[in-house]
């Protein structure tokens, strides 16, 4: 199972805790993880990426295995530690303001 860590605002919106577990079929990519996340929690549609273009919202970041993956291709495979469930895929609201 893929582990996804959500920021607090999205936890409230989806009605879940900090970490959710997802079953992803096929290659584990940003796109497939977010597809599975939105399918499980439709309230999150449009809050992390544009619902039509699928482009990441400007102030959302994707981290995993101590790396910033925000600018990687949507279809690039995520690290094997994420695919195996050993490490989480982190969705972060970018730091802004004081």
């Amino acid at each position: 199972m893929i582990q996804v860590v959500l920021p607090k605002n999205l936890q409230i919106l989806a009605g879940v805790g900090r970490t959710v577990e997802l079953q992803v079929s096929g290659p584990v990519t940003q796109r497939s993880v977010l597809d599975a996340l939105e399918e499980s929690y439709p309230a999150l549609i449009g809050t992390m990426r544009d619902r039509n273009t699928k482009q990441r919202r400007p102030m959302i970041r994707f981290f995993a295995c101590e790396e910033d993956l925000s600018h990687e291709s949507l279809d690039a495979e995520l690290p094997p530690e994420v695919a195996s469930g050993k490490e989480p895929f982190l969705i972060i609201g970018a730091i802004a303001g004081g």
Binding site: N9, L13, T47, A96
Partner: protein, 371 residues
């Protein structure tokens, strides 16, 4: 047994505040959607248990929430606000063309008769409608594609459609207001629109009485007199008695004619409320005194209402959707401030009580009169 339910939107969540018809003791519930900006919460006149809330965030975008039990529980409805066709451009602050971009829902206006029908005024300025309780949305493109739209420019808060007024005697007739384009009127249920700004003068434009471009902050109507509208413009308080064919100034003896809110007493169509704000740069009440001004003559002659409101060291603002009136007699008047206070008057403004003092900055206040 009558009662009231206040729906308060703040920078960090929504609050539902209730009282009986006496309007002296209050129960505060919330925050709902903690951490999110709640620009507006409004109930359906046709089904008071049906509420809608605009929830947004610079990080996470727009969510539209719906409640079927008066705000105890909520569910996310639809948030696909897509402009019809190729949106094109409007005018940016520096006069250059700027692409039309959806940012948030500023104002929700449920139908007067159908709880599943709802309008949304958004930034960048456009009008959307939903016929299925907010699940799906379609733009009413006749407004944003008006021939003047490429020249619309944002106010300090953005290019926002912030006011929607439906004529209760003729639901095909609607008025909307945009900062900074002005008032538009439709007589065919929103299919087509025409500017309705004759009589407005704004010295922030090269042509002071241009057809569009006025920074209208808010308009209000008494349901018994749909041809009479009151307006708080960036500067000037205005009135029309011919359905916005023409406007005249009624600022009279106000200490400053800048402000955001304006509303009409539910029992007295010529009793009007404003809260003057020092501007341009200050955007707080003048002289450290929070004063509501009331005219019982439909404008021009205003009296300061201060009983129960802070009269020293007060420097708050009251934003455009943050004042409302109930339907009881005497009329209840309510407003919320940038300092997080919500005030109530159960006697038409003669005296005021503090309902709650330390909420996040208040963006909007609506009230439902429950019978």
């Amino acid at each position: 047994m009558s009662g009231v339910r206040l729906l308060v939107g703040t920078r960090k969540g929504a609050f539902v505040i209730t009282s009986d018809g006496g309007r002296k003791t209050w129960k505060v519930e919330g925050p709902h959607f903690a951490g999110w900006e709640i620009y507006h919460v409004k109930g359906s006149p046709a089904n008071p248990k049906r509420l809608y809330a605009s929830q947004s965030s610079g990080w996470f975008g727009q969510v539209l929430q719906r409640s079927n039990d008066g705000g105890s529980t909520w569910e996310a409805a639809g948030n696909d606000f897509r402009y019809e066709g190729t949106p094109g451009t409007h005018t940016w602050y520096d006069g250059s063309p700027h692409p039309w971009e959806f940012k948030r829902v500023w104002h929700i206006e449920p139908s007067l008769t159908d709880p599943d029908m709802i309008y949304a005024g958004v930034e960048d300025a456009a009008l959307f409608a939903s016929k299925d309780a907010g699940t799906t949305w379609a733009e009413m493109p006749g407004l944003r594609t008006h021939e003047t739209a490429p020249g619309w420019a944002p106010g300090a808060g953005g290019l926002c459609l912030h006011t929607i007024v439906i004529d209760p005697k003729n639901p095909d007739r609607m008025f909307i207001a945009i900062s900074s384009a002005g008032v538009f009127r439709s007589d065919d249920a929103g299919k087509s629109w025409r500017p309705a700004n004759r009589g407005l003068r704004s010295n922030t434009m090269p042509d002071e009485d241009a057809e569009v471009g006025h920074c209208v902050h808010r308009i209000a109507m008494h349901p018994s007199r749909p041809n009479t509208l009151f307006m708080q413009k960036h500067w000037d308080v205005m009135r029309t008695d011919d359905g916005a064919e023409s406007w005249r100034e009624i600022s009279g003896n106000l200490p400053t004619d800048f402000g955001f809110v304006i509303d009409v007493n539910s029992n007295e169509p010529d009793t009007v409320y404003v809260i003057p704000i020092t501007s341009d740069s200050h955007h707080f009440v003048s002289e450290g005194k929070l004063r509501v001004y009331r005219s019982k003559t439909g404008g021009d002659d205003w009296e300061a209402l201060t009983n129960g409101l802070p009269q020293k060291d007060c420097y708050v603002n009251v934003l455009r959707d943050a004042m409302t009136v109930d339907q009881l007699d005497p009329c209840g008047v309510y407003f919320g401030t940038s300092g997080g206070q919500v005030y109530a008057s159960a006697n038409g403004g003669d005296s005021w009580d503090t309902i709650v003092r330390d909420l996040p900055p208040v963006l909007s206040v609506e009230v439902q009169t429950l019978k």
